[in-house]
Homo-oligomer: 254 residues x 4
Amino acid sequence: MKPLIIAGKEIKSRLFIGTGKFPSPKVMAEALEVSGAEIVTVALRRVSFNSPDPTLSAIDFDKYIVLPNTSGAKDAEEAVRLARLARAASGINWVKLEVTPDPVYLLPDPFETLKAAEMLVKEGFVVLPYMHADPVLAKRLEDVGCATVMPLAAPIGSARGLKTEEFIRIIVEQANVPVVVDAGLGLPSHAARAIELGADAVLVNTAIALAEDPVKMARAFKLAVESAVLGIEAGPIEEQEKASASSPLTGFLD
Amino acid sequence: MKPLIIAGKEIKSRLFIGTGKFPSPKVMAEALEVSGAEIVTVALRRVSFNSPDPTLSAIDFDKYIVLPNTSGAKDAEEAVRLARLARAASGINWVKLEVTPDPVYLLPDPFETLKAAEMLVKEGFVVLPYMHADPVLAKRLEDVGCATVMPLAAPIGSARGLKTEEFIRIIVEQANVPVVVDAGLGLPSHAARAIELGADAVLVNTAIALAEDPVKMARAFKLAVESAVLGIEAGPIEEQEKASASSPLTGFLD
Amino acid sequence: MKPLIIAGKEIKSRLFIGTGKFPSPKVMAEALEVSGAEIVTVALRRVSFNSPDPTLSAIDFDKYIVLPNTSGAKDAEEAVRLARLARAASGINWVKLEVTPDPVYLLPDPFETLKAAEMLVKEGFVVLPYMHADPVLAKRLEDVGCATVMPLAAPIGSARGLKTEEFIRIIVEQANVPVVVDAGLGLPSHAARAIELGADAVLVNTAIALAEDPVKMARAFKLAVESAVLGIEAGPIEEQEKASASSPLTGFLD
Amino acid sequence: MKPLIIAGKEIKSRLFIGTGKFPSPKVMAEALEVSGAEIVTVALRRVSFNSPDPTLSAIDFDKYIVLPNTSGAKDAEEAVRLARLARAASGINWVKLEVTPDPVYLLPDPFETLKAAEMLVKEGFVVLPYMHADPVLAKRLEDVGCATVMPLAAPIGSARGLKTEEFIRIIVEQANVPVVVDAGLGLPSHAARAIELGADAVLVNTAIALAEDPVKMARAFKLAVESAVLGIEAGPIEEQEKASASSPLTGFLD
C-alpha cells in the first residue's frame, strides 16, 4: 500500500480514533494507546482549548496529531467559526470538517461542507471533510484543496457497516488525496473491508467508545486494519465463479 | 469467547491452515509459522505418510496438529479408506472428512459425509467434517459424534466470502461442538466476519497459498481472526436504525 | 423460458400457493383465484380428505392441482404415512414432501427427506421435496426420481428473501428437473429475483396469507412472477462495471 | 400508496421510460406503448424540437408527457441553456435535469445540479433532478422547488441494481416531493425493490432499450412496478428472525 501522507506528514497508522462518548478520559486514553492511532479527533463543541478540559488533558499532544472536528455545526459559518476558535486557542491548523444540519441521521451537507472547506483552505487550514460517499463531491473537495476526503460508510453511530461500497470503490479509483472512511463502522470486519476496498484509512469512534470494553475494542480495530493492509499488500486472489480444489486430486494414491 | 476445545485439546489459534497449492514447501512452512496456526490440514491424496514427502517434511509435527484430509474422496468408502491408511502410516487419528463428488463446485455430499463420519467415529477417529451450511446436517453430524462441524462459506477456492451468513448464524446458535467455517474465504475481512457471526474458528487455504505473497497473507489472516475474537470479547454495540452523534452537542460553546 | 413440466403436466403459472394461515377459507379461495396459480398445496396434518373440511371445500379441485404436503412430519416414516393416507382418501398421488424435525427454524432434514422421497417414488408418488439449498442434495433427490426440487430461500415464514442466491444459481445450473424456490419469500421482488436467477417457479404462502390484504398480495406476487418470466425471456443486459450513457452525447447540438 | 402527483398532474403509471439507445424509433414506440408509461424522457442533445426528428416523430405527444432531459450537460449553464432551447421550440416547461461532468460513471454533480435547479425553477420550469442518493441533497433540491427528486440506484446503464438502498430509505422517509429512482436498474426485480422501499416511481432506459427484446422487457418492468405497488398496498408481513410454520401443526391427525 502506498504511504498515507496528509499535508506532508506520513501517518503510519491507518486507524483514526474519535474521542466522543468514552466512559471516562482514562479509558479513552488507554484505548488511544492500544489502538496505535496517530490521529485523534476531538469535538470542538465538547472540549475547550481555553480552559482545563478533562478530555484534552488525557491526550498526549506530543504523541498524537489532535484533529479538532466541527461536529454539531449546522452550516459553513458555524464550522468555520469553530475551526478558527480552535486554532486561535491551540495553534492547531488541522480540522475535521463536519457540517450536519440533519438532526436524525447526522448526514453531512455537501454545500455547506464545500463552502466551509474552501474558506478554511484559504485561511491555511489542513481540511479533512466528512462527506457522503458521492464521487463527484469527493472530486470537488479535492479540487478546492482538501487534504483528504472522508466518505461515510453509514450514518454516524449506526454500526451498520459499509453500505456505500459501490461508491467508495469509485471514490478510491478517482481520488488523488487519501480516502478515509468515516462513520458507521461497527465491527472490526467492517474496518477491514473498507481498507480492502482501497480506502487509505478509517475513522472509528462510537464502535470503540461504547463497546463494553473500549480498550479491547480499540485493539480489535487496530488488528483488523493491519490485517487488511497486509492482505492488500500480499496480493489477494480473485473471486472465482467455480470452485478450485485446494488439494489437487492427482497424488500418490492414484 | 469460550475456549476452543476439540477432542479434549485446547486450541488457542482460531485459524486453521490448509497446505495445498503453496508455491513450495519452504513458503508453506513460513506461512504456517507466521499464521500462528496450530492445526494444519494435509490432503491424503497428495501427501504420503509412507515415503519421504516434501510437504510433510516441511511441517514440524511436534509443533502442529496435523489434520489429514480426505480431499478428493468421491464417496464414504474412499474417504474411510484414506483415513485408515493415514492412521496406519502416521498414527494420527484425527481426520478432516471431505466427500465431494461434484467436480465443478467441489461441494460436500451430506449422505456420504454422514455415513463416513459414523464409521470413522466408531473406529475411534476424531472427525471434523466439511459440510454445506445446513443446520439440520450440522446437528446430525454432531449427533454421530463429530468433534466439530465445518460449514462452507462459499465453494472451495472461490474467494467469494461468507455467502451462507444466514445459516452459519443458525448453526452457531444450535451447535454443541465447535463451528469452523471452511472454504470460500478470500480476504481477511471474510475471516473476521465469520468469527463475528459466532464461528469458533476458520480454515483458510487457497486465499493464502495462491496470494502473491503467501507468508504476508498468512499474517493478514492471523490478525483478522484475532481482531474478530477481540471484537466479540469487547462487547460490540448493536446496529442502529438512526444515527447517534459521536460527539454530543452540548458543550462549552453552547 | 422453457415450459414448466411436472410429471408430464405442463404448468403455465410459475406461482404455487400454500393454503395455511389465511384469515378464512373464503379469502383463501379469492387469493387463489387472482393468483393465477395452478398448483395449490394443503397441509395433511391440517386438512382432512376423509371428512368435510372447510379449506378443502373452498378449493375447486377441477381447477387446481391440489398438492398435499407433509408439513409437520418429523421423520420419513411420518411423512410417508401422511402421503399414503392422503392418497387413499383423495386419489391424489402428488405430494410436497416436507420433513422438518427442527421446531425453531423448520428447516428440512436432508436424510429423512431423501429416504421418504425414495420410498414415495417407488410407491408411485409424484414427489416435490422441500430442501435446503444444497446442490448435492438436489442432485440426489433428482436421482431418486423426484419430480422437482424445492430449495428454500430462507426459513419458512421468515420473509427474509433470497438468502441462498449463491446456491440457487448452482442448483439451477445443474438441475434436470424443475427448480421451485420455496419458503422465505416475503415480497414480490423476492419472487421476481428467484425467477431471474433461473428458478422455474416459486411457492409462496405466509407472505400472501398473512398480508393485510391477502387477495391483493396474491395479485402482487402473480405480477412479480410474470414480470420476471418476461424479463428473462426479453434477454436482459449484463451488469457493467462502468456507466453507459442512456443518451449518447453526439447530437444535433454538437 | 399515495397518488403520484407532479406539478399538479396525477401520474398513474409508476414507470417512467427513457428513449435513448433503442434499436429504432418504431421499437421505442412499441415499448412505450406496452410499458404503460405516461412520462417519457428524451435527451435534448440527441433530439431536435426544431426540425423533423425520428425519435420525436415516433412519440405521441397527446398521449405522453414528454420530459426533455439535459443528458450530457457538463455544468449548470449548459443544462439551463438546453432547457431553455427546448422550451422555446416545444413549449414544454418540464425538464429532467442531468448534470454529469464525470465521463466514466456519469454521476451527477450536486453543485451544478442545485444551481441549475434554482435557476430553472425561477424561470418557471417543472424540474425533476437526477441526483446521488444523498438525503441532504434531496432536501436541498426540494427546498429550491424541484417537483421531484430522482436519486440513482447505481451508475447509469450499469444494470447493477439498488446499490443505494440504505439511503433511498432515508430519502423516502424525509421527502415531501415524489421520489423517483433513476439509473442503474437492470432487472424487473430491481424496479420492484425500489418501489417496495418506498419510492414513488422508477425511471428505466438502458435495461429496456438494450434488451434483446425491448418491447417484452418494457412489459416486464411494467408488471414489476405494478406488482410492487400492489404489494405495498396489500400490507406486507414483517421480516422474522425465526421461522413460522405456514401450516400450524395441530390438526385432524393429532
